[in-house]
């Protein structure tokens, strides 16, 4: 029984005094009254014995509350007295020895007091406030009886003389009064009754106070656990809450880790009054790992049960190995120790240990309180472990989805983003997912696109079926166009209700571009193969066609000669008519000159028609052959300006005949270009001729040259309506030739076919449709580029781009040119 409260301490001393008085009176009555010079004992022997026994029992209960030994002794004494009283009260007085004979009232008082002692000394589990109440009541009754006699004693004259034989005796005549005029017996009973009352009251107060403290301790522990974020934070606070409320002086929390087989001290707490030695103990605890079965926490870990050491210091004195902290406990003045396991699903997670400076037997209610606290602590630990695990898992998942290049996001059924990964956040042009959460597609995309996405969402939600890898065009936050492949799946809760959508979207722009490029490349390949096939076919049939052509030409020439002869014309006419370059004109001439016969004239016209057709067929074959077969180049560093000038000279007749003005603008110091002069000359003649043919009734042919680095824009340009075959790259030093006419241009829908064989916009018979095809092939052979585009003001612009020739170190240059040159038997294209 703690007695820190001064009032309690005073009451306790008073109670001890009250209990002590009958003991002393009893002892004096039995053995010391004659030595004191008294004529007779103050109490009869039976009364003295009973009072002394009861007083000692109550004093023992006051001095050592909770002690099993004390309780046992008090109970034993009370039972004996009760039995004795029962025997007296049941009129079996004769069975008792003379010295044990007491009056019935005294026996009744003994019985009541004995019952009170039994109730007060009862073992903890059956103790209660009711016990204390009844014990107190019994004490009051005893007190009342004694007071009644006391008053009776003093308010009435003595009934008999007070002589030694009768004084303080109990019953000698049956029904005689218990107490004589001597005040000692009544006073002894008064004080015994008071002692019982005080003891019961103190018990009750202490019980109630202990109960309150336990409740406070539990509440405080709960509060700590609710407010703490981690076990490390909660540990010391929890110990403080428990120890301060329960008035214990030292506490530790021990935890075991899954990866180690020891307990480690997680937290300690010490009462301020403990001093420096307790600080040493704290240090020792923190440094000392405890194996299973070692020291009190280890014992609790091993048994899984609460343990109580009435004197931990003494317990460890004999076995320092098992109790390594015993000396430290002793130095800190700590005696009583109690440890309770932190159990979760029958598994010991750790141990809570508290120590007190006073030794005391086990307190079941305290242990219950500690059990409740450790249960809460176990829940706290497991909850924190679960939260940590959940948090780790969540962080891992978050890291995974944020590190994936795919867009991953969740929407609720109303289309609001509820989860958004980093890739999708970036795609939406946002820096944080917080800027996306709660918004919809309408906040980020154009209305048409957003509508389309929403329709998909609704389809998935209504049909409960996923959309997998739907390819859709999309505009990025920076305005860039692209493609994504999106999968949308219905998102269900545990009951199977659709609560939203899980969407995974992959940027397939690069893949799409590659597909388009591949498609283009395939088309080009097909085109190239077509060309090659055509070339091989041309080469194959050329020989077979040329033989009959030769036959036809010779026959036509012969007939023309015959007809001319018949018409009186000279044989030279026929011969001239065979001249391919002017066959048509000669035919007409023949007609004019041979006007003797209408039939001959018509026949001559027909023959000339045949000869023209042969020439035309031969031209087609020749141009087709230009396609076929290998055409290695004879590359030489060439001045393009000079080459263009000489090409223009060759077409001067066409320019003049077509009333075409020439506007040239040649760049000075134009870098040379590695070219096969003859082939490039053929290109220019083709292009100039085409330009003249496109300008019916005259126009202007502009030719410009320039040099510089090819810009990225120029390198990448695929002008609307233009067709080019990019070979030069941005940054290349290039020479460009721009040829513009003021003619009809090429219909935009036909631009794409301009380089196809047999494509022509010229009148029937005017062009073979092979000129541009051959031109492009020659340019490509030079690693150059040709672009066609209609000029906004009318006419066509042809741009030729060549890499400027860079003089290499002599040997390399020679090798380079030599490798590009042809052997002697080079086949060249016609000019």
């Amino acid at each position: 029984m703690d007695s820190s409260d001064p009032l309690q301490r005073g009451l306790r001393w008073l109670a001890l005094f009250c209990a002590g008085f009958p003991v002393i009176a009893g002892i004096i009555s039995c053995i010391g009254w004659s030595a004191l010079g008294w004529s007779e004992p103050p109490l009869a022997p039976g009364t003295a014995l009973g009072l002394a026994t009861l007083g000692a029992a109550v004093a023992a209960l006051l001095l050592a509350p909770g002690s099993r030994m004390t309780s046992f002794a008090a109970c034993l004494a009370a039972v004996i007295l009760l039995t004795w009283s029962a025997v007296r009260l049941t009129s079996l007085t004769d069975a008792l020895p003379a010295y044990a004979k007491v009056s019935p009232l005294t026996a009744l008082s003994f019985a009541l007091a004995s019952c009170a002692v039994l109730l007060l000394a009862g073992h903890s589990p059956i103790r209660s406030r009711i016990n204390d109440l009844i014990a107190g009541s019994l004490g009051i009754i005893v007190l009342g009886i004694a007071l009644g006699f006391s008053l009776n004693l003093y308010s009435r004259p003595p009934l008999r003389r007070n002589h030694p034989e009768t004084a303080g005796s109990s019953d000698r005549g049956g029904g005689a009064p218990v107490f004589t005029r001597s005040p000692v017996p009544a006073l002894s009973f008064d004080l015994l009754g008071l002692a019982l009352c005080l003891t019961a009251a103190l018990r009750d107060v202490m019980e109630r106070r202990g109960s309150r403290r336990r409740i406070f301790a539990q509440r405080a522990a709960t509060q700590v656990l609710v407010e703490s974020a981690t076990l490390a934070e909660a540990g010391p606070l929890l110990l403080a809450a428990v120890c301060e409320n329960l008035r214990w002086h030292f506490g530790t929390v021990w935890m075991r880790r899954e990866d180690t087989r020891v307990l480690r001290c997680l937290a300690t707490w010490r009462a301020p009054e403990l001093g420096a030695t307790a600080a040493e103990l704290e240090t020792l605890c923190r440094q000392l790992p405890l194996d299973k079965g070692c020291d009190l926490p280890g014992i609790v870990w091993s048994s899984g049960q609460p343990e109580w050491l009435a004197d931990a210091a003494a317990a460890g004195a004999n076995d320092k190995t098992k109790f390594p902290r015993a000396e430290a406990f002793a130095r800190a003045g700590l005696r009583r120790a109690c440890a309770v396991p932190i159990l979760h699903e029958k598994k010991t997670l750790g141990v809570v240990e508290i120590l007190h400076q006073e030794t005391r037997p086990p307190d079941a209610e305290l242990l219950d309180t500690l059990r409740a606290v450790t249960s809460q602590l176990a829940l706290f630990i497991t909850r924190k472990q679960f939260e940590e695990s959940l948090s780790r898992e969540r962080n891992l998942l978050r890291a995974v989805i944020d590190n994936l290049p795919d867009h991953i996001y969740l929407k609720d059924t109303a289309g609001h983003y509820v989860v958004d990964n980093a890739a999708h956040t970036r795609f939406l042009g946002q820096t944080s997912a917080d800027n996306v959460i709660g918004k919809t597609v309408f906040d980020f995309f154009a209305p048409e696109l957003a509508e389309s996405f929403t329709e998909d969402d609704q389809l998935v939600l209504s049909s409960n079926r996923a959309i997998i890898n739907r390819e859709e065009p999309i505009s990025g936050a920076d305005g860039s166009k692209g493609w994504v492949a999106t999968s949308k799946l219905p998102f269900h809760d545990n009951e199977g209700n659709i609560i939203g959508l899980v969407c995974v979207s992959r940027d397939i722009s690069a893949q799409k571009r590659a597909e388009i490029e591949l498609h283009d490349a395939q088309l080009q390949l097909i085109q190239a193969e077509k060309m090659e096939s055509l070339g091989r076919l041309a080469a194959g049939i050329a020989h077979e066609v040329k033989n009959p052509l030769a036959m036809i030409q010779m026959s036509a020439d012969y007939l023309a000669d015959v007809l001319a002869s018949a018409g009186g014309a000279s044989g030279d006419t026929a011969a001239e008519g065979a001249n391919g370059n002017s066959g048509g004109a000669d035919g007409v001439g023949n007609k004019n000159n041979s006007g003797n016969s209408g039939i001959d004239s018509a026949a001559m016209e027909v023959v000339n028609g045949i000869r023209e057709s042969v020439l035309r067929a031969d031209t087609i074959i020749r141009e087709m052959l230009d396609f076929a077969g290998p055409k290695p180049l004879n590359l030489q560093p060439t001045d393009l300006n000079a080459l263009i000038a000489s090409s223009l000279l060759l077409v001067r007749h066409e320019l003049e005949g077509g009333e075409v003005k020439l506007s040239d603008q040649f760049a000075a110091d134009l870098p040379r270009v590695a070219l096969d002069k003859n082939k490039i000359k053929q290109v220019f003649i083709n292009l100039f001729t085409n330009a003249v043919h496109a300008m019916h009734g005259g126009g202007t042919l502009s030719v410009r040259t320039s040099a510089g680095e090819l810009s990225a824009a120029d390198a990448a340009v695929r002008e609307e309506g233009s067709r080019s075959n990019s070979r030069c790259r941005a940054g290349d030093h290039v020479v460009q030739v721009c040829i513009e006419d003021t003619g009809t241009g090429i219909p935009p829908d036909k631009l794409a076919n301009a380089f196809d064989p047999f494509f022509t916009t010229k009148a029937t018979g005017k062009g073979t449709g092979l000129g541009l095809t051959v031109t492009k092939k020659i340019i490509e052979m030079h690693g150059g580029e040709i672009r066609l585009a209609n000029r906004p003001e009318g006419g066509l612009r042809v741009t030729l781009i060549f890499r400027a020739w860079t003089p290499a170190p002599a040997a390399a240059a020679e090798k380079s040119l030599a490798s590009a040159s042809l052997p002697v038997a080079e086949r060249t294209l016609p000019t």
Binding site: A550, Q553, M554, D557, Y558, R611, R622, R827, T828
Partner: protein
């Protein structure tokens, strides 16, 4: 003045026929047609032409083989030969001045004028 003799060798009989007509119509030439490459050397030896117009691509021996045989035979080695072929283009012939590999070439189709000019240019002039 006796007519010069021309041997025309081509597997197309129609073509040799029209060449014959064209050349003979000038009154300057007498033409023997031969439509296979086999026996050309024998025919040349017998006919002793002043010029041979020789196709290149023919069944059996081609024009090149035939020239080789002609050059091996002392009686025919000096007879001028003009290749008349569809295998070489006019441009290629023009670039070589009408001569390829030391032999004059005429491309098919060829005009009567070009034929006559070439024949006149290359026909053997016999002494006396």
């Amino acid at each position: 003045m006796s007519k010069k003799r021309v041997l025309i060798v081509d597997d197309q009989s129609g073509f040799t026929r029209i060449i014959k007509l064209t050349l003979e119509k000038t009154g300057l030439y007498e033409v023997l047609e031969k439509n296979t490459s086999a026996g050309v050397v024998v025919a040349a030896g017998e006919y002793d032409p002043d010029l041979i117009l020789l196709d290149v691509i023919m069944p059996g021996s081609d024009g090149g083989d035939v020239v080789g045989l002609l050059k091996e035979n002392p009686r025919t080695r000096d007879i001028p030969v003009i290749f008349l072929t569809a295998t070489v283009r006019k441009q290629e012939i023009d670039e070589g001045g009408g001569i390829i590999g030391g032999y004059p070439f005429l491309p098919k189709p060829v005009s009567a004028k070009e034929l006559l000019v070439s024949v006149e240019k290359h026909i053997r002039q016999r002494p006396g």
